[in-house]
């Protein structure tokens, strides 16, 4: 027997073959993650501001791309020049042929603003209430110190707008609804009492507005006069500046500070500028909450189905057909589930709920429009086959002798299932849940139809009673990626955001899975040497 034939017989060749394929798969996964990390994580590092001379005038910005000469096209360098309000676009391609020697001016400044993206240029002067306070480098230093105060003011305005004003608005709306009811009943005394209440609320509201207006004026008092590299001037209130980064004059440690602060803003803040700037916290929160609600819904649904199919239903062609149908449900394109969710949950169920319980606020729908509850329900339908299959497997793997032991003790079938079989099957059920989470957290298409929005005004969980607002629309990382990357007017600038959002989505799925895995491990330990 030849050596090759002998190796085939021993199976060594196949071990190598499968090992190689495994390594290939691992390499693909690692390169995917590595690519996303590399593209995303570098985004927050303040890069050098490069100034070059071109025939059309000076250009100042971050170098973001490079295109080698190809055919008639000459070699080009891409600059992120910012100043969308002045130039009309953020990026500019500069042919490297006519480009002078690159300089790194120490006074070049990147200013992150609340609107129009970053400004790249220099500070000419700083004024207060129209009076010139300082100019040149002194103005930069003073603006840096004033910036913290301005940011503090801005956060206060935001919290008043979101908290107190929002709260007042809700109370006024509630009052309006109850007034409508009382009006229909025709109770004059109650009507007057309500009107008095409404007047009181209105007064508080007006006072709040006045104090807000004062704070806003205060925030607008300090203005910067900004100068672009080609000599154009731009007045900009200090209150609308997020960060000022003189990247060329910064030490690595200072840059690290900026990096961390930007990263934190990304993870913990609300988005700005049609999602292309700021943070994505609402999307993270929405994703996690949607997955949790889905888990809460899908586990009972799947477990009860599997319990009936496996333990109670008479095994026959009908049960087999149902089982095949359930398994095939996993192969239905998710957008079909989305359409079903829209038609059945949102319009059907939600519309009915609105007519029965929220008729006062009609025609504004409460549940008759997309919301996190409907999205989660749709996703739980999408993922229920996974849970059913895993649960059936787990139920089947509970040793027969344990069921017999329980029955021989005089337990009923239901007691046996509830006290012996289901606890033993829990790790297997959790395996199903883990798979369901993995599937559900990354799903986007059905969500677009059933409750995900580009920008949600409020979170589905907050401090206002009843805390869980399952009727609210929400933001989702998967949809965020699609929206920022492909629906935004400035997708070039938002590209790194797409990678960061992808990275976070991966992280969220991994963390949710780790959570479930840990739960399963703990249960297994408690059950001791369980079989599944």
């Amino acid at each position: 027997m030849s050596r090759l034939a002998e190796r085939f017989r021993q199976g060594g060749v196949f071990v190598w073959f499968s090992g190689t394929l495994l390594a290939f798969c691992l390499a693909m996964i690692l390169s995917l993650v590595g690519f996303i990390v590399a593209k995303g994580m570098g985004f927050f590092w303040p890069s050098q501001l490069v100034q070059v001379q071109t025939p059309e005038g000076p250009v100042l910005g971050e170098i973001t791309g490079h295109e080698p000469a190809r055919g008639e096209e000459t070699e080009k360098v891409q600059f992120r020049v910012g100043n969308r309000d002045v130039y009309g676009q953020d990026f500019r391609w500069v042919p490297s042929a006519g480009m002078g020697v690159p300089e790194y001016p120490a006074d070049a400044l990147l200013i992150e603003r609340l609107e129009y993206g970053p400004f790249i240029g220099r500070i000419a002067s700083l004024s207060h209430d129209g009076h010139l306070v300082s100019t040149g480098p002194v103005a930069l230093a003073e603006a840096m110190t004033r910036l913290q105060e301005a940011n503090r003011l801005r956060r206060r305005i935001q919290s008043i707008e979101k908290g107190q004003v929002g709260d007042l608005n809700r109370r006024i709306e509630k009052l309006r609804l109850s007034r409508k009811k009382v009006e229909a009943a025709g109770d004059q005394g109650a009507l007057q009492a309500l009107d008095a209440k409404a007047a009181a609320l209105q007064t508080t509201y007006d006072q709040l507005q006045t104090s807000l207006e004062q704070t806003r004026t205060e925030a607008k008092a300090w203005t910067l006069s900004l100068q672009t590299v080609d000599g154009q001037f731009k007045e900009w209130p200090l209150g609308s500046v997020v960060r000022m980064i003189p990247a060329n004059a910064m030490s690595p440690l200072e840059k690290l500070g900026v990096y961390l602060s930007r990263l934190w803003e990304f993870v913990a803040d609300d988005p700005r500028e049609s999602n292309t700037e700021g943070g994505i916290f609402p999307a993270i929160f929405g994703t996690v909450m949607m997955v949790l609600v889905m888990s809460v819904l899908v586990v009972p649904l799947g477990v009860i189905t599997a319990l009936y199919l496996r333990e109670y239903a008479k095994q026959g062609w009908l049960v087999r057909a149902v089982r095949v149908a359930v398994n095939n449900l996993a192969g239905v394109p998710s957008i079909v589930f989305g359409v079903f969710g829209l038609g059945f949950f949102v319009y059907g169920l939600g519309g009915t709920i609105d007519q029965l319980f929220f008729a006062d606020s009609l025609p504004t729908p409460t549940y008759g429009t997309g919301g996190i509850l409907w999205a989660s329900l749709t996703l739980s339908l999408l993922t229920v086959p996974v849970v059913v299959v895993a649960t059936e497997e787990a139920l089947g793997s509970v040793p027969r002798n344990q069921r017999e032991a329980s029955l021989a003790m005089g337990a009923t079938k239901w007691q046996t299932l509830w006290k012996v079989v289901l606890p033993s099957a829990t790790p297997g059920i959790l395996t199903g849940l883990i798979l369901a989470i993995a599937r559900g957290a990354g799903e986007v298409a059905p969500l677009m139809l059933t409750g995900v929005v580009k920008l949600a005004p409020a979170m589905p969980l907050d401090g206002t009673f009843p805390f869980f607002h399952l009727d609210r629309k929400f933001m989702h990382l998967g949809f965020h990626i699609y929206d920022v990357g492909f629906q935004s007017p400035n997708s070039e600038a938002a590209k790194p955001m797409v990678f960061m959002a992808s990275l976070l989505l991966l992280l969220v799925v991994v963390i949710l899975n780790l959570f479930a895995l840990n739960l399963r491990r703990k249960l297994r330990e408690r059950l001791g040497g369980s079989t599944f």
């Binding site: 002798n401 329980s406 029955l407 021989a408 005089g410 007691q415 006290k419 033993s424 408690r526 059950l527």
Partner: protein
Amino acid sequence: MEIDDPRPVPEPAHLQVPPPEAGLRPTSFIQPDLPLTDPSVLSAPTMLRIERLNLFYGEKQALSDVNLTVSRNSVMSFIGPSGCGKSTLLRCLNRMNDLIDDVRIEGRVLLGNTDIYAPETDVIALRKRAGMVFQKSNPFPKSIFENVAYGLRIQGQSDRTVLEEAVERSLMGAGLWEEVKDRLKDSAQGLSGGQQQRLCIARALAVRPEVILMDEPCSALDPIATARVEELILELKREFTIVIVTHNMQQAARVSDHTAFFWMGKLIETGLTENMFTNPGHRMTEDYITGRFG
């Protein structure tokens, strides 16, 4: 559940079992009116009475016309080659065969005064009266305490003191208390094989059954653990009636007061254990006991 014996069962012509009506029956079956040598057994009232029991798995008959009585506070052992129906008969006594599809049972089984196959009999209540210990120890994946308390819990007992008292009493009854009293909260599956089997006995004791049915309780245990379970059986006899299925002839001789020998679904002979082993009334019994077949 039976382990198939690969050896063929010899069927010499003279060993063919005569029909029950034939002359063999009166001498080989214990009849209530039959004189008994052991006065304690003689005076004991009947706990279990099996009358003309036939059992079919589909078309196949697994038990044919079995008549048998078991006295209160005695140990009855079922012996016979694999597949002879002794485990099937045991599982008839608490209606565990109901769990198998396609089983048909004829005849009567009386536990005390209850006909357990009467339509009005509550199976759940019956199984509380007839506890069972299985061939392979099968503690639940719960703590030692919860295993023993299980039977009471499903009866709706949740009073902690009652449960603790019952668990202690049962574990003492099963001779396990000293070994596990400090780790009642540990998983039962961390116990050794012998301890697990005694835990299963304790679990059965906790609901205070009248009869304990043991299906080859020692077949998976080492000799020392086996000896402990056998001692336990002799102690439990004072309070309970025990029916034990065993493959081990010595075990039957050591622990049981009466022995019943089965072959091919038929009860060949039953009587006082000492008589059976010293002076079997039937050739087949003698051949089986002396190891010539089976």
